[in-house]
Amino acid sequence: MKNLVLAVLVLVSAVAQAAFFDSGQGARPTGLGEAFVAVADDANAMYYNPAGMIQIKMLSTTATYTGYMEGLSDSFAAIVVPVPGYGAIGISWLGLTAASSYSESTLKVAYAYPITKQYTLGLALKMLSKSYTLDSVAAGNPFFSSTSASGLGLDVSFFGRLSEGIAVGVSIENINAPDINVGSSDPVPMNIRFGGRYKFDKSLLVSLEGDLNGEDVKVKGGSEYWLDPGLMKDLGAVDSEIGFRGGVGYGNNSYLNVDLGFSFYLPSKIADLRFDYSFTMPLMYIEGAGTHRFSICITDPRPAFNL
């Protein structure tokens, strides 16, 4: 049975190719090497695994800006609201712009439904939109009867907490492969994530994930460590905490990324804030490429506390 499931997943993914590319979102997940499908314990779950929202105990938000290179950047924001006894709901927005020639956006709403105490099902509906701006030559292209298109996508996800420290997650995105085009077929491909994580204690977790997206196959892993709160107190930063993380992603088609990151958690009377930073260094990419990400979150206490 397991082999059959895996075979189906690989087969389905192999017929699709990315259009709304998965470049990772959130400085904390990317600091973990994007191995976040089985972590998914803050508002970034809206991007990686909405079922993981079940772990969130209070209203949480996150906002991330990413500048890939001159003229290419994206922004991501998400809000998650726990509904006691019924799971959690969330909404997110992702926008990308490319040198004034292209833009795309994804507006997503999601619901995490607790099937049992251990297992949670996630469903997400999203509006995908893209728009082209033509240069002087392309402006004469009769192909462009329209320069924008949009459609609906459906995501299904799963989160299972197998024990106090072990959890697994699966996310199947664009399961309906919405065809969003201005002239010829351009289906947004299915993207499949699956993985597990293990929390040694309240300070340390490791995570492993596999991604299937068309012809691209990736394995990602990362680890996160939060410093002893007592140490921060000794340093005079009462209640604040610092976490560090690192990750690696490897795949076919010259994909090899190294990720580093840290977080600074700062509780306050108004809101508990967390500032995340990550740096992604693609080792087999264009020269001089490296991506900085900054996130600001209103969140639960540091996520690793949620054993």
Binding site: F21, E70, S101, P142, S184, F200, L204, S223, G246, M284
Partner: protein
Amino acid sequence: MRKIFFLLPVLLFAFSPALGYYDDFTTYDSYYSIIDPCNNVSTAPLVISAAGTDTSNITVDAVSFRDGGKSIRWDKTGLTSVTTQVSRSGMASINMAALTTGVLQFWYYLPSIVGNWNRAAANISSDSTYSIGGNNATVATSVPLLTSLATNTWNYFKVNLPAWPASVDQTAIKSWSVEFISSTATATCTAIRLDDIRVVSANNTTNGVWSEDSGVWSIYNNSGTKVYRQNGNCDIANPQLLLNKFYKDFIATVDVNVQSANAQYAGLVLNQNVSDSSYYLYNFNAQTRGFEIKKFNGSALVNATSTAAATTTTAATNFTYSLKVVSKSGVLYCYHSIDSGATWCSADYSFQETGSIAGRLGFLAGSTAGDATVYFTNLVIQPLPYAITATAGDGRVDISCNSDAKAGEVVSYNIYRGTVSKTYGTALTTTTSPGYTDIGVSNGVTYYYAVTANVNTSSSTNVETPLALAEEVAIVPHAGIKISNNPFTPNGGAAFSKASFSVFNQINEDVSMLIYKPNGTLVANLNAGNTSVVWSSGALSSTISWDGKNNSGRIVDGGVYVWQIKVGGSVAGKGTVVLAK
């Protein structure tokens, strides 16, 4: 097992930022600080720092510099060991007896100012202990600060010293002070730090005093004559240096007077190496009456590179000559003149130094054969702009260069441009910074650029460094890479099925392009070879196209892709291109 995962993020993170928390005080170092093993220089840069609060006169008590004319070495230890007190009496006493005319300069740093601290003044005054006709008196003047009161930055202060009444016995003045004064009683400055206090004196009664005036170094003796006097033996392991000042390319000239035929060393110290203290000495040896270039390694003479024939036929007593050294692109050229610089010899020596070029300058004088008084006067150092670079743009060229000049040394830079090498005509423009953007150029044309500096000297504020010594750089402005038909539609008509990249390719090298998804996944690896065509004024352009296919030959999905183009193995550009469906 747990330790392994604990170490992963910690170690990875530890390697990432090259953060340095260690403060080696390099930013506080005095420049032009002096080491004088011969105990013959009385004033070195003085560093004072103090913290405190005063509601009226923002002052720091004097740190006396009265060491009887002995040399002081201000190094890291010196910077941190200086202590001061807060009072209203002023600060920075400088032992400058009989200072009558000249220039006072220093850098000051105000961390913060609270309240309305109006325009401050630098009160320059003598101390209260000197005597005129048996009556104690003070002489003082107030000089408004000519520079800003900006906080959290170093501000440069320089002012001409006031003239004193003729009745004042200037030789009785023991010290000076500088005072920051607020015009209100409510202002508070939390701290003041002074650095590089230096007095340019026209007269000094005690020993020699180094003097710096915007690129011109002068040294004065007790009779008011510009001179650095070295009397007797000198330690060749520790020549008189202008420290913390490194000139990569420069022109240095100095006049030298040798009083005695005993003088064995009387020349310029060149390129002292920081790590091993080795240096070259371009020297007149009065004993052999010839000009020499020698190399000293620490305290030992390791190589008498060459010795010129005797220059004078008579004993070298009261013999005056001039030395000139040009350092350019790692090569040192040494010249002498015996007619006060009216004519210079062909280079006595020129040599290429291997390894890094320290460019630190200094003097060495003395003898092992008895008294050998030597005077150095009129040292002028002109730092040459170097490492000129030109970056081509679309109808523009960005010029930049390095300069080792310190504040006040270089007034401006002249930018030269020509279409024939070493042929420029008049300067294209004059700028205050070592850089310029030239938008008066045409794509495809080869231009040659050179930069000279206009240097402050004692006789002029605008002495241009020789154009003949200026580095030259050639550049061809071009449009770089231009994309046509973006977005492109591989599933549409043939005319619009490819994105075309026009690439500047001056010498017809191979052109290649990589296509990636934004997440770093490789899509296509393309090679156009060398297929250039002439496009403008002899410059070449190549065209490389992407038809939307990956390395498997399949048209990929719509979206934004990242490209990188190489010409001849070097990255020529990168950007994004959009495939539409």
